[in-house]
Symmetry: C2
Subunit: 145 residues, 2 copies
DNA sequence: GTGTGAGTTCATGTCGACATGAAGTCAAGT
DNA sequence: ACTTGACTTCATGTCGACATGAACTCACAC
């Protein structure tokens, strides 16, 4: 098993990232690449896998902190609970996205002057409106880099 | 159709939000509630619908800027394209989440010492690793408030 | 042996989405 | 009249996830 080691530049380029991103992820504890004699980072195969996991998880909207839990090799009892909670959150998010998609699709096809006045459209958000309690769904934000 | 007007406090409470959030959304152009004689914000039914849309869209991981496009009542020709692009992005995201869920589920059940060394797990991210080009999928971030 | 280019650390800036606080206005209750 | 509480604007702080820049080291081509 040849665990060929790559430089930070090569590794970053491979994923279309900038080198400072990899350093940042290391700062927050997501990566721990080896170092050569001169103190330079050398990325092995498992580092590549970890980077792939980070990218995939980020694409799913997870924070670096959450991803850290996923990558943490601590198999304590609370880890199971955290991962379970994690999957549940992904499911909640996907459900929200399905609803959001339906909403957007209608806004796309509807010819009403102001969408917010279309009865079909209003019907799609009534649960948010009338669920007289508090609308809870903590979520991320931010845009395209 | 009685368009009962509510105060910012009532409106915020109804959605479990703080008042400054509604003011912020107004600052960035997502809301335009009426004002009473004394300059206080009065939220009507369409404002409530808009808030519901914002919450639902945020839960789907969209930025306020993106949501602004959705709520914009300009029916110009480019709007159609923007909405279409939007739906496509939601689909991409959902696909990523599906993969991410599968990944997490395996991490949940796998007993390997270090997950990144499990062959099944590695197989799940090979497309990210070997898709020799650049891994593109600009996405959001951030955590629970 | 001297650039050149990639690497290093450390400090500070940016951006989105609010949070927090100061200072003042306003209507309603006692 | 006076306090109380919800409202107003405007300024500044926070947090996550980087971006940017300064000052330096290192291996290698020429």
């Amino acid at each position: 098993m040849k665990s060929s080691l790559r430089s930070i530049g090569d590794t970053a380029a491979r994923f279309g990232l900038k080198t400072n991103v990899l350093r940042h992820w290391e700062d927050v504890g997501l990566l721990k690449p080896e170092r050569d004699g001169a103190g330079r980072r050398r990325y092995g195969d498992d580092d590549l896998v970890r980077i792939a996991v980070i990218l995939r998880s980020k694409a799913a909207g997870m924070s670096l902190e959450q991803i850290a839990v996923l990558l943490d090799d601590d198999h304590g009892p609370q880890r199971h609970r955290v991962l379970q909670e994690h999957i549940a959150e992904l499911d909640r998010r996907m459900e929200e996205m399905r609803r959001s998609r339906a909403m957007t699709l209608h806004a796309f096809k509807c010819e009403a002057h102001d969408i917010t006045r279309c009865p079909h459209f209003r019907a799609m958000v009534t649960d948010v409106l009338d669920g007289s309690g508090t609308w809870r769904s903590m979520e991320p934000s931010q845009a395209l880099p």
